[in-house]
Subunit: 512 residues, 2 copies
């Protein structure tokens, strides 16, 4: 058995069933090992950032890692922005990075680079298979490291000779070590802080925001605690019948105003909130004057169990408030983020998955879908736009019976538009909504906020995407995906209703 | 004066006149500083790999660095594959990487990352502006580091507060320290080795391959030395009236066979040749049995002067052989890399620039253009495909009166197709030739060579780009670039002849 077979076989034995790949010469034996392993679905991506974004989306829904297959240092570099997003999302992911044969590494061949340094900022664990007999064991080590709380991306470097030489052996899967529990004394101390507060806020991130989590949050809300989620959580379950926490404002001064009067903030699976960016003369930490923080749990601990214990300690009822689920009327007139949101709310299938990379258009759509059918909303976690379409590839692979909607802006979509081709090839029924405003609109807002002044002609040209406008119908059709364009609310309403009923990917470009 | 103004102004004073940019919130003051600096042409790129590939192309033609403007760690990550290529090309380049304000860095904001580690593998110098009063000086240090032989990309990190705070001061430009000369004793020793050789080969890279370099190489060839260039030099001047060295074979065993019988290899501005990849049972170093190497110069020394001295020491004549310059007949039948090459040779304008990222199609086109009008041929230096279109953006900005031709494969072009939009916006008259074979054809060749065996169905699907085919007419038109498709030699011949006469970008998709 080659090292490549041992690596792929060990991961397959441990339940890894998807590989998002962009291979090169040094990965040919890995490709052949994947060919021999029917339990792993291999998905070709034409750019590496699609592969890692897809693995992130897969992990957020499947709650276990996919593997990726990347071509040496430059392949990882292309992949790294979406690994950054995945690291912030705490998504498990096994990035298998091909490398020159061990005896070839010391030469300055064109593709030689320092892979271990390159992967360090985005990897919670790094391993290198120096001999094929390590391939199985390191694959299982990588999987375990990726799954230990807090989860995250890991990098497993595979020199070509370690892949091609015989002498590999599969390693048995190991159970993931249990997530550390929060000691009861800490729960009690938090309960006391809440009881003694004039106005307590629970700031919560992680697993408590999705699945069974919101029901626990609802119990806490029923005791009078205000529950607030971060601006950009990795996943939250929301919609009709689900408790919906408030969402932290993006702009720090709005967040501080919104929280004003709170004297205690309980941190549950989340560090203290900080501004997305710094601005001249404004503080980084988002806490109102006189508010102290108490820590219930870190992201490395079992936050959901701690919240259940806190609810019990506070004598919370068994249930709490949930979203009623009213749907908006058919919108009319020119299309806008608000009308798009209304249409999505009207036609969203039950248990849909929404991948949100729509920047300025995202918030109005989020607000409008509060009462839509229950769904999972996945945010841009690391601020590196270009996450949305790749993430949708991965969620559609992880959950073929759920409908994925990718929300994106025209600026954001350009970073990783190659994801559309993979949707076409794999017949993933993703509905991609490109909110086209022909500008980096968020930067026009931020320019004023940073105090940099009104844009002159050169600056305005750096923030605008017109001259020429991007044509998303052609960019989609050029990759084999059906597409249409609309600039009316009614046109989008009809198009979206049709698109969610189709068995293949569709792109809708809509003016905003 | 803000730190941003000091940085941009100092670079402009020192002659930097182009900035390839993809800005974000943390770079707003840099954008405004560029707005106030009319000497710098700001070029918006919709993906960071386009910006750095363009800066590489700019440097290869202008012989001085452009600046880029990148958005924190993820922006650099997206840029890094083409910085890798630029590092291998020894292209000067100043990557200005925005960062959170110094007081915001310690928080785990979404876009926080370890930028200094991330940039290390691809940067020959790294600086961080911790206070605006350092901005001007560090900008000049960065420029100098980038220009000192061997040239290369440098990274200048600019925290947002260092950009926005007043207190910056421009720093004066400094002359670049002269490139170290090769001592005459070493030249004499090399001349002696050549004279004593049964069959001597000069293996040469760098500045000796372009401009005045080939005339010096021709003198050496006239003495009976065989002159060989690397497989993928950053730039070489070739065509009618120019001496053309042989090109090292890509596959190591072919290269060794080609060099067989040589007993002395003189290394001039090049390390010893090594295989692009390693293969089972094959050596890494590309040297025939019994051949020894002698070093004339390193990439950090003045190779061209050393070669002149070597020619003198060998008593070389003042001139040597040059390419005669015969043009092929109009090709007929189905299009192929050979017919494409013939048409390019027939219609290539004088002093054109060819950016070659066409992988398997590149070599036949290269061979067919040997006798074309004089031109500069720029290779993929670091093996990270996706260089070709961005490089063409930069060469067209650097040399507006020369015609740029971008040769690419459909697989390679997908990595950085966003470059087409910048060509449209800036009205860069680049002729992009997409050689469409609907596969990663090189990998089908490499799969057999690595001994991984015949591809099964999963492997074949990982190496093929069909199902669906990419439509480059739509992908170009979607970004505002005119395009057409042909599958005949005559159709391409007509289309290429028309395209090189146009004042705007054109894409030709041609079947291969």
């Amino acid at each position: 058995m080659t090292g490549a077979d041992a690596l792929v076989g060990s991961l397959a034995d441990a339940g890894v069933d998807a590989c998002f790949a962009n291979p090169g010469t040094s990965e040919m034996h890995l490709v052949q090992a994947l060919d021999r392993e029917p339990r792993v679905r291999s998905v070709l991506c034409l750019f590496e950032g699609v592969a890692t974004g897809a693995a992130d989306g897969y992990a957020r829904i499947a709650c276990r890692p996919a593997m990726t297959l990347l071509h040496l240092g430059p392949g990882y570099a292309n992949a790294a922005a979406n690994v950054h997003n995945a690291r912030k999302a705490r998504s498990p992911m096994i990035n298998v990075v091909g490398e020159h044969a061990t005896h070839h590494r010391r030469f300055d061949a064109p593709l030689s680079s320092d892979i271990e340094t390159l992967v360090r900022p985005t990897s919670k664990w790094i391993g290198s298979v120096e001999h094929p007999d390590q391939a199985g064991r390191l694959a299982i080590d990588a999987l375990e490291a990726s799954m230990m709380a807090p989860c995250g991306p890991v990098s497993l470097v595979l020199p070509a000779d370690s892949a091609w030489i015989e002498g590999g052996a599969r390693a048995p899967a190991r159970p993931v070590p249990p997530t550390p529990q929060v000691p009861i004394q800490r729960v009690s101390a938090n309960a006391e802080a809440v009881r003694g507060a004039r106005k307590a806020v629970l700031y919560v991130d992680g697993a408590a925001l999705w699945g069974e989590g919101p029901a626990v949050l609802a119990r806490l809300a029923a005791t009078g605690v205000r529950v607030v989620a971060p601006t950009f959580p990795a996943r939250w379950t929301r919609g009709a019948g689900v408790f919906q926490p408030d969402r932290m404002y993006y702009f720090a001064e709005l967040a501080v105003a919104d929280l004003s009067g709170c004297d205690v903030m309980v941190l549950a699976g989340a560090p203290q909130p900080v501004g997305f960016f710094a601005y001249p003369g404004r503080p980084s930490v988002v806490l109102p004057e006189g508010c102290r923080t108490v820590e219930l749990s870190t992201p490395a601990e079992d936050t959901l169990a701690a919240l259940r214990a806190l609810a019990d300690a506070l004598g919370a009822p068994d249930t709490g408030p949930v979203e009623a689920g009213a749907l908006p009327d058919r919108p009319q007139g020119a299309s806008s983020p608000a009308t798009i949101g209304a249409s999505i709310a009207r036609h969203l299938p039950h248990d849909a998955i929404i991948s949100d990379d729509a920047v300025t258009a995202g918030l109005p759509i989020f607000l409008a879908t509060r009462g839509a059918a229950r769904h999972d909303w996945l945010c841009l976690t690391g601020g590196a736009i270009g996450q949305g379409l790749p993430l949708a590839v991965g969620t559609a692979v992880a959950a073929p019976h759920r409908r994925t909607i990718a929300l994106t802006g025209d600026g954001a979509a350009m970073y990783t538009l190659q994801a559309l081709w993979t949707m076409a090839r794999e017949r993933l029924p993703v509905v991609t909504v490109v909110c086209a405003n022909h500008s980096y609109r968020v930067l026009n807002i931020e320019l004023a906020r940073t105090g940099a002044g009104n844009p002159g002609p050169t600056a305005a040209r750096m923030l605008s995407l017109d001259g020429p406008n991007l044509d998303w119908v052609k960019l989609a059709e050029g990759q084999g995906v059906e597409a249409l364009r609309t600039d009316t609310a009614e046109g989008f309403d009809d198009a979206f209703a049709r698109a969610v009923a189709m068995d293949r990917p569709v792109v809708i470009e809509v003016a905003t």
